[in-house]
Symmetry: C3
Subunit: 395 residues, 3 copies
C-alpha cells in the first residue's frame, strides 16, 4: 500500500487511541489495532522515503526495564528518536520503588516533561500488568491535580500478561507476508511450546499471540506439553476472541497436531503458569536455594520434551511443508546457540531473514503507539509530515 492509501484507510477507521495507554491488545477495539498497524506502516514509509517523522521538538520518552532487554530497548529508543523524543532511562537500582505510595510519587517525579513511559516488567507473575495500572493511576492523579502539564502515555514493553509491541509487530509482518489482514482469515497459526535448555521464560509472547491473532479470524492452535499452561484468563480471552471474529482457537498437547496443515508456526519455549507462580514467590523471598532447586526441577521436566523441536520433519507436516516460521528472537537454535533447542538449524536458517524482517516492524509499531497516544489527530499529523517533506538526512 502506498502512503495515501494507508492514510485513506486510517481515515475510514474512525478510531482513536488518544490518551489511551497501550497495555493489552484485548483492551483495544479491532479498529484501534488497525490504526496502530496502519500508522506503523505509514511511519515506515516516511522513513523509507527519507522524510522526517519528527513531530516533537522536545520531550522525554522514559523507559523502565525491570528485566534485561536489548531488542526492545533499541526499538523503543529508535521509535522515540524517530518522533523527536529523547530517551531517559529509569534505572531503579535497588528497588526504591517498593510499595504503592512510592510508585505514585516516582511516576509523577519522572513525568513533568515526559510524553511517553515505556515499561518492561515481566519477571513476577501477577505483578507486571498490575504495576502498569498503578503507574497509570498515579499519572491520572497527578494530571487531574495539576501536577503534570500533560498526562504521559504508557506503552507496555512486555508484562506478565501480554507483549503487545511484539505481537503487533508480528501482525504487521504477517500482513506484509500474506498481503493483507483479510488474507489472514482462516489461516492456521500454530503457537506451540518448544524445548529449551533454559527455564523461566515469560508467558507473555504466547499469550500475546493467542490474544491477538484470534482477533482477525485466524485459526489459532495452541499446543504445549501437559503442565505448561498459560494464564487461564488469557486462554479465555483467546476463546472469546475467536468466537467473535469467526476464527478458531484450540488447545492441545501435541506439537504434530498443531503443526498439521499450519500456514504459520511459532514454536517458542516458556515456563508454565504454575512454575512462574512458584518462581515469583521465591524471587520475592529472594530464596536462592529455592530458585536453584526449582530451576533443576524444571530443567528436568523440560528434558522430557526435547522432541518439541521445530525440525525439518515437523515442518513437513505443515501446509505444503512450507509454513511460515516465526520467532520473537533470539531463538534457541540446535547446534548453533545451544546443543538442543527450539528449532533445527536448517529450519531457522531458511527463515532467518524473515524473522529479522518480523523484528524490523517493532520500532515502527512502538512509534505508532506513541503517535496515536499523543496526537488528537494522528491522521492530520501524518498528512502534514508528508506535506512538510522535511528530509530526514540533509544533503
Amino acid at each position: 500500500m502506498n502512503y495515501s492509501q494507508l492514510l485513506s484507510e486510517i481515515g475510514q477507521l474512525n478510531a482513536s487511541l488518544h490518551q489511551k495507554d497501550f497495555l493489552l491488545t484485548w483492551d483495544k477495539t479491532e479498529n484501534e489495532l488497525r490504526l496502530v498497524l496502519l500508522a506503523a506502516e505509514a511511519l515506515k514509509c516516511l522513513h523509507g522515503q527519507n522524510i522526517s517523522a519528527q513531530c516533537f521538538e522536545t520531550g522525554l520518552a522514559v523507559s523502565q526495564f525491570r528485566d534485561n532487554s536489548t531488542r526492545t530497548r533499541f526499538s523503543f529508543a529508535s521509535a522515540s528518536n524517530l518522533l523527536g523524543l529523547a530517551v531517559q532511562d529509569l534505572d531503579e537500582g535497588k528497588s526504591q520503588i517498593a510499595h504503592g505510595e512510592t510508585v505514585r510519587e516516582t511516576s509523577n517525579m519522572i513525568s513533568f516533561l515526559t510524553e511517553i513511559i515505556g515499561i518492561r516488567d515481566d519477571m513476577f507473575l501477577g505483578a507486571g500488568h498490575t504495576y502498569m495500572l498503578e503507574v497509570a493511576a498515579a499519572l491520572d492523579d497527578g494530571f487531574k491535580n495539576g501536577v503534570l502539564p500533560q498526562r504521559p502515555g504508557i506503552v507496555n514493553l512486555q508484562c506478565d500478561v501480554d507483549h503487545p509491541t511484539q505481537s503487533m509487530a508480528d501482525l504487521c509482518w504477517l500482513k506484509e507476508h500474506f498481503g493483507s489482514l483479510e488474507a489472514l482469515r482462516g489461516k492456521k497459526i500454530a503457537m506451540t511450546w518448544a524445548y529449551s535448555p533454559s527455564y523461566g521464560k515469560p508467558l507473555s509472547v504466547p499469550q500475546g499471540i493467542i490474544g491477538l491473532m484470534t482477533r482477525f479470524g485466524m485459526n489459532v492452535a495452541l499446543a504445549h506439553p501437559e503442565g505448561y499452561d498459560l494464564i487461564p484468563d488469557v486462554v479465555q480471552v483467546a476463546k472469546k476472541n475467536a468466537a467473535a471474529s469467526g476464527g478458531q482457537f484450540t488447545e492441545g498437547t501435541s506439537m504434530d497436531e498443531a503443526f498439521k496443515d499450519a500456514d504459520i508456526v511459532y514454536p517458542k519455549s516458556w515456563a508454565s503458569y504454575q512454575v512462574m507462580g512458584r518462581r515469583t514467590e521465591l524471587l520475592r523471598k529472594n530464596d536462592k536455594d529455592g530458585l536453584k532447586a526449582l530451576e533443576k526441577e524444571c530443567l528436568g521436566q523440560n528434558a522430557h520434551f526435547k522432541d518439541w523441536e521445530c525440525t525439518e520433519a515437523k515442518m513437513k507436516l505443515t501446509q505444503g511443508g512450507k509454513a511460515l516460521y516465526m520467532h520473537c528472537l533470539p531463538a534457541d537454535i540446535t547446534g548453533v546457540s545451544c546443543k538442543e533447542g527450539e528449532v533445527q538449524d536448517s529450519v531457522f536458517e531458511r527463515y532467518r531473514i524473515e524473522t529479522y524482517k518480523e523484528a524490523g516492524y517493532k520500532p515502527f509499531v512502538i512509534a505508532a503507539m506513541m503517535l496515536t497516544n499523543r496526537m488528537q489527530n494522528p491522521l492530520a499529523v501524518l498528512e502534514n509530515l508528508m506535506k512538510r517533506k522535511q528530509p530526514r538526512i540533509f544533503s
Copy 2:
C-alpha cells in the same frame, strides 16, 4: 503573571548570570536569583503553551552523579532536553578521578562540545563544593588556553554545602503559593530536623533553605535536637542574610517552638555536621566496620528524637493550624514508607499534591540556570522564542 509581565520584570532587574557557575545561592545577588526564578516561570509558561524553548540545535549537557539520584537526574535531563541539549552522563566507575591533576584533565576531555556540566557530589563533607571549584578552575584554564571553544557552565546539583536547584524550586513554589516574593516578607518558615529511621542524610537541603529564604525578608526558624548542627559557616550566612534583608533567623532545639505560628514548615531529617565529618573520614578510609558502628550509634541517637515528627498535633501549633507543609521528597512517611518517620501519613497526604507541585519547578529552575548561564541576553532569547512560536508538538 503572564509571559510579557515576566519578561518585563526580567528587563527591570539589570542582572546577568552569563558565564557564572551556579554553585551557591549566597554567591548570587538578589536580582540574579530573581532572574532565575522569572526565567524558570517563563520557560514553564512556554511549555504550557506548546511553544518550543529549544535554543540549542546541538550541544551536550554532561551530568556527573557521585551519589544516587532519580529526581534530580530526571529534572536535569528534562531541562537539557527542553533547551535542545543532549545529556551525556559521566560515570566515573571506580574513581579514575582521584587527584587534582586528573580532575583538571577529565574536566577538559568531556567539554569540547559541552555547554553545561551538572554535578552532584554530596557524600563527603568538605569535598563536594571543593570539587566543583576544581572543575571550574580546570574549565577556566582550558578555555583561556584555547583547548575549549566555549567554557561550559557548571550547575550544582547538590553538594555538601548547598542544594540550589532544590531551594530555588522551593522558592518558585512559595512564590506561586503566596502570590509573590513580596508576600513572603515576614512569613515564618520552620526548617526543622525530623526523625528518620535512616542516617547520613546530607545537610545541603536545610542549609540551602536557611541560606536562601533569609534573602527575602522571611522569618526563618531553624530547629534541631542538640548535636544535629549544620555547618557553622552556613548558619553565619543565614544570620547575615536575615539582617541584610530585614528578615529574621533563629536557631533552637524545640520543634514546637519553631512550628509555633509558622506559615510554612519544612521538617526533614539530616545527620549532624560532626557525624558527617566522622562519616567522611570513614568513607575515605573505606572502613566498613567503622561505618557500621557509626550508623548504629547514630540510629541509636536518632531514636531519642522520635517525637520530632510532623504530626497533626504539631501542625495545630502553626498559623491557623494551616501552615504549608514542604519537603524535597521522598519523605519518610510514618506507616507508609517506614514504621516511624518524618511525617504523619495524614499530614503528608493532605499536602501530597503540593509537594509534587513544589518538585515540578525543578526542571524549569535548572533550565533557567542553564539558559542564563549560556546566553548573553536571556531576555532577548525568551522574547525571540515567543516570536518564533515554533510549536513544541507538531500537529
Copy 3:
C-alpha cells in the same frame, strides 16, 4: 585554512568514503585520509562560527564499548550530537553475544534505524578487528536481504590492531602544529615504549601511529625494550608505507636513539604482543590465578625498564631540545598520577595544553568519519550547511 579553502581542497581530492567502514587507516587511500582530516577541520570551523552542523533530523548512533572509555565515549557522543544523531549504547551485560550466529543477529536488531555503529573492542588480541568484520558482514547481509533500510557505517573506536580515531586526531593536531601535512615530510617522530606501573595496555595506539605517520613521508622511529614487540603484520605495513611515501621507518631498542633529533616524541606504555596473546588466552579461560601470575611477571619485567621515562634529560636529545611531546592521554605522570611513570612531571606540564588540544580533534575526526560514511557528497553537505547558516545557538 579558512572554510572555503578547506572545501576547495576537498573538491580536489576526488575521494569518497561513502558506505566504507573506517576500521584501519591502511585500508584507506591517502586522499581518503585527507578527506577525513579536511572534513574534521571544516566541522570544527562550523562549530567555532556557531553554525549548526546538524544534518540528521533523526537517526541513531550506536556505541558498543567492550572496554572502559571516558574520553572516546564523550568524543563519540559529541560527534553524534554534532550531526544530529542520538546515541544509544549497546551494553552487552554478560556476553549475550558469544558466537558468530548471534553477532549476525544482534547487528541487525540494533540497526533498523541506525546510521553509525562505533565499536571499541581492544581487550582480546586477534578478536577486536575480527569482530568488527563480523558485524560488517552481518550488516551487509541484512541490507542486501531487505532487513535494513540502510546499511549503517562502522567506526572503529579502538581494536586490537588500530586506533584510527586517535591516530587521525593526532595527525590533525600535527597538521595544525606544523602548518600543513606537507610540512611533516621528513620530520622525525619517535614512537617509543615508556615505563608504566600498570600492564596490559593495548598495542593499538603505537600500531596506529606507525601505520599512519609513515603515510606522509615522516621518519618514524619505533623503539621499545626487547620483548615488547608490536604485531608483526602491522610493523610490515609501516615499512611498506614508509617506502611508498618516501619516508623512513626504523625499529630499535634504544629510547635515546629514537629521541635523538626527533621533532616529535610519543612515549607511551604497552604490553608486548606475546604477553597480550597469553593474556587473551587467560581472559578467555577466565583464569584469574593465571592472570594474576602474568600480571606479576609482567610488572616485574616492566620494572627493568624504568629508565624508559620521558625525562627532561631525554627531551634534551631531541631536535633543539624542543620536540613536540604527544600522548593519547591519560599519561602516567611521575609524581602526579603515579610514583614512577611514562613522563616526568615538568615535561608533561610544559606540553599539557598541547596534549589537550591534540585530544580536542577527536570529536571532529569521528564526526568527519560519520559524515563521509553517510553522505554521498559530503562536500555538497558542507557547502550547504554553510549556506543554510543555521545558528547552533539561538539568540
